[in-house]
Amino acid sequence: MSPLLFLILVPLVAAAFIVVGSNARFTALIASLTNLLFSLVLLAVYPRGSGYQFVSEFPIVPSLGINFTLGADGLSLVMLLLSTLVTVAAVAVAKAPERNAGWFFASLLFISAGVIGAFSSIDLFFFYMFHELALVPTFLLIGIWGSGDRQAAAWKATIYLALGSFVLLLGLLGLYLIQPEGFRSFDLRKIILLADAGFLGGNSWVYLLLLVGYGILVSLFPFHTWAPQAYSSAPSPAAMLHAGVLKKFGLYGLIRTAVPIFPDAVAEFSNLLLILLVGNILFVGYVTISQRKLDWMLGYSSVMHMGYIFLGIAALNLLSVTGSSLMLFAHGLSIAALFALGGELRERTGTLDFSELGGLAKAMPAFALLFGFAAFASIGLPGFVNFAGELLIFFGAFAGGTPLFGFSHGREVFALNSFQIATACAVWGVVISAIYMLRAYRRIFFGPLADRWSRLTEIHGLPRAAIATLIVVMLAFGFFPQIIVNLLTSGLTAP
């Protein structure tokens, strides 16, 4: 059996066991830890720079070129590590609901299986299908076990993401149909070979479909309105898995399909993408500042940070795309840690409204410390892997496009091109994140401690260990980002 199939099946089998009646939390934890260890082993045995490994192929519809093909390269393995790591953390912080605890944990494991399947698929058909497999339990988790106006949130996300998925499906179909007849397949490797041979040029409409489809899934401005509402209503493990891992599917898809297959189209429409992503960073950034509740703020901040990753993709050079890939990993960890902490806080206080909180650092010093680390990671403080990712993106993006300084028509010109302007906006975005994160931190943890919060219990046990692990990983790779970067660059084709 292919090792990747094993990774997909472990959560599915565990989910089946849980539904049948074994201890939900324990089984889920064992399964997710098994997967984490296994993905670490895969990372360790993966020969650096060798393209897709662990490939297994099973024909499904040969006449249409659909095969169930699994395989992983450096980028996929990093995403698999992210998936398994966040799954462990999500299961660890999950509080079993009173009713149907089994189904709750089974849904979490289903999301995990879906994202692992998506990240380890080479065949675009199954790449898409696995993503959808992960979406369904997300809706159920929000709708059944969410908080606040959960049904409206789940409903809106369902419709939005269904629409996005179908646009994406059309894009993938387009990608299939523009291949010359007789060579058509959904196999990413074959499509890239065709693209390199110049068979797929000039089909920028496919790129636009892919961009809009993936864009809706990743909450690209202005398709982002579903995200904050869904995240604020979702139970924290679901928000961790969705914002941390599942949403990265769209960006991963762009890096996998759009960048190597349609570099010309990406360059052609770069101004459009730049405008949208600046909308993500500045517009959504200012909206984030104005939030009055922690869960909504985190939801908006996760939308905002997508802008950086899009910037790296738009700039289309090895440096920036590497930065984007690194940022996928980094942001996944930091937002998962923040949502986990937000969930813990909600459970203790029952409210996430800034105006009602304050001074909690006195009651829960360890909690405040963890939150501080996660917040700083999210801002992109040096020392965290997020910083490395943002730095690569900024350097890469600033070098993107045609430089407008030097000599032109015999005169000296000095101007910024659109990439450089967008990069400047993105750097300002770091300031914006610092403003909202630090303000939130001050309002929650500093100031006078209200009487009713004086007996809050400190975070301890499994949740504490899980969140601390996420932070340690971010710090470790923040100091040694080269480990991941080496893995990633082997998987990226330099345009």
Binding site: M129, I144, W155, L177
Partner: protein
């Protein structure tokens, strides 16, 4: 060597035998008739696999076609009739309640026998290559449905549905006959392949009259497949008819309509001038059907009515395939879609029957809290709804995938655009049912729901088949020409 006509002859014999048996089974449970019919039809289904498509026999006539498509739809008709009978067994207490009679269970027998005759008609429809044959087979199907729709004569809804179906069915029959007359008048032929030969020789001035006749035939077929603007009978008839009949009507009758549509269009599409006009008409029909079916389904609160509108919506997706029938991918896409539609629609109706019986109504609110009352039934309904909405790993998704693939390959972006938006609408109304089952609290009585063993088996098999063929469609695609 089995003659290809043997299948229909066997089915008719089974029907006649059961009718006679009904006369002698006075004391016994009438449901044994259904069991007999199921066993008999299953035998015919097995027999069909010993038949080779495309044998030369009867080929010269053009009257009776025996190609792979015909054989596939004969199996389709048999399978759907078997499932209808399974559903009918579960539904029979409701029918009994609405048939006033001196002796209990009198008059129940035909409820199990009539679907067998419908099945024979459907099988002939699949094989017909001649307008006369199409007309006769269609009437056999329609007339047996008239009786079945109005079967519960104590129920006003059923009677109303029967009347509506009778009047509009007669109207569409009128269109069909009139259209056939015009085509016959212009070409002197009723056999489709002879019409094709003739069309090549026909002067271009005569095309208007021919198109008029073809238009009338298309109107009649539009009634059968529930395409907008010929859909207005659907919601009332589907809601009022006994549920197993509704399922049969919405699956088998629609599928037969699409087979006829494909067969009738084929010769006419070979003339370039006519082709362009016909395909434009199909694009308009498909877009209108998609938009109307999906938008009208959104506010529904009665599940049967919702499924009626959803059946209009699915006719729209199928018409998208028909509108792109010039693509080599389209025919297979339509047939596979119909197969998926059979699985998921029957699953939804098979779950609906016991739930409606226990809850006393077919409203979506009767499904509230089903996830807690009967997790198995709720899960099966979830599968059906997910597949109808087109979620991946289900046949519904694969069907839509193939249809959209065909449409994209013909650059029919208008339909694709409309299709994507309506798919999103579909998510809204199918998930209303899921929401009721899993998110809303159950009403007062929360006893588990009783399901007949045969229904339970069918529900299990259909749920499994939706996933199996959604991931691994090769066995079905291999059967489709």
């Amino acid at each position: 060597m089995i003659p290809s006509l043997a299948l229909e002859i066997c089915v008719v014999c089974i029907g006649i035998f059961l009718l006679m048996a009904d006369a002698f089974l006075v004391k016994q449970d009438k449901r044994s008739l259904a069991v007999g019919a199921i066993v008999g039809l299953a035998g015919v289904l097995v027999l069909s696999f010993f038949l080779k498509p495309g044998s030369a026999e009867m080929d010269f006539s053009g009257f009776y076609v025996n190609d792979a498509l015909a054989l596939f739809f004969k199996r389709f008709a048999l399978l759907s009739t078997i499932l209808t009978l399974v559903a009918a067994m579960d539904y029979s207490p409701v029918v009994e309640r609405f048939i006033p009679s001196a002796t209990p269970k009198a008059g129940l027998g035909e409820f199990f026998v009539l679907p067998v005759f419908t099945c024979a008609g459907l099988m002939w429809m699949a094989s017909s290559g001649d307008f006369i044959m199409i007309f006769c087979a269609l009437e056999l199907v329609t007339i047996s449905f008239y009786v079945q729709v109005a079967y519960m004569r104590g129920s006003n809804a059923s009677l109303e549905a029967g009347t509506k179906y009778l009047i509009l069915g007669a109207l569409s029959t009128g269109f069909l006959v009139y259209g056939i007359t015009w085509i016959f008048g212009m070409t002197g032929q009723t056999t489709l392949f002879r019409i094709r030969d003739f069309l090549g020789l026909m002067p271009i001035e005569n095309q208007t009259a021919l198109l008029f006749g073809l238009g009338l035939v298309l109107v009649a077929i539009g009634f059968k497949v529930a395409a907008v603007p010929f859909q207005f009978w659907v919601p009332d008839v589907y809601q009022g008819a006994p549920t197993p009949v509704t399922a049969h009507l919405s699956v088998a009758s629609k599928a037969a309509g699409f087979v006829i549509l494909m067969r009738v269009l084929e010769p006419f599409l070979e003339i370039p001038a006519v082709q362009a006009k016909l395909l434009t008409a199909m694009v308009v029909l498909a877009a209108a059907t998609l938009i109307y079916g999906n938008l009208a389904a959104m506010p529904q609160t009665n599940l049967k009515r919702l499924l009626a509108y959803s059946s209009i919506a699915h006719a729209g997706y199928l018409l998208v395939g028909i509108a792109n029938v010039t693509s080599p991918l389209a025919g297979r896409a339509v047939v596979f879609y119909l197969f998926g539609y059979l699985l998921m629609t029957y699953l939804a109706f098979l779950v609906l029957i016991p739930v409606a019986k226990a809850a006393g109504g077919e409203e979506i609110s009767n499904f509230n809290g089903l996830g807690r009352r009967s997790p198995g039934l709720a899960f099966a309904m979830l599968v059906a709804m997910a597949s109808l909405a087109g979620l991946p790993f289900t046949v519904g998704f694969l069907g839509k995938f193939l249809i959209f693939e065909a449409a994209m390959s013909q650059h029919s972006y208008l339909l694709v655009g409309v299709g994507v938006i309506t798919v999103a609408c579909g998510f809204y109304y199918y998930f209303k049912v899921v929401r009721a089952m899993y998110w809303l609290p159950p009403s007062d009585d929360s006893a588990s729901i009783e399901v007949q063993p045969l229904s339970r088996l069918a529900i299990g098999c259909l749920s499994a088949a939706i996933f199996v063929f959604g991931v691994f469609p090769q066995p079905i695609l291999k059967l489709i020409p």
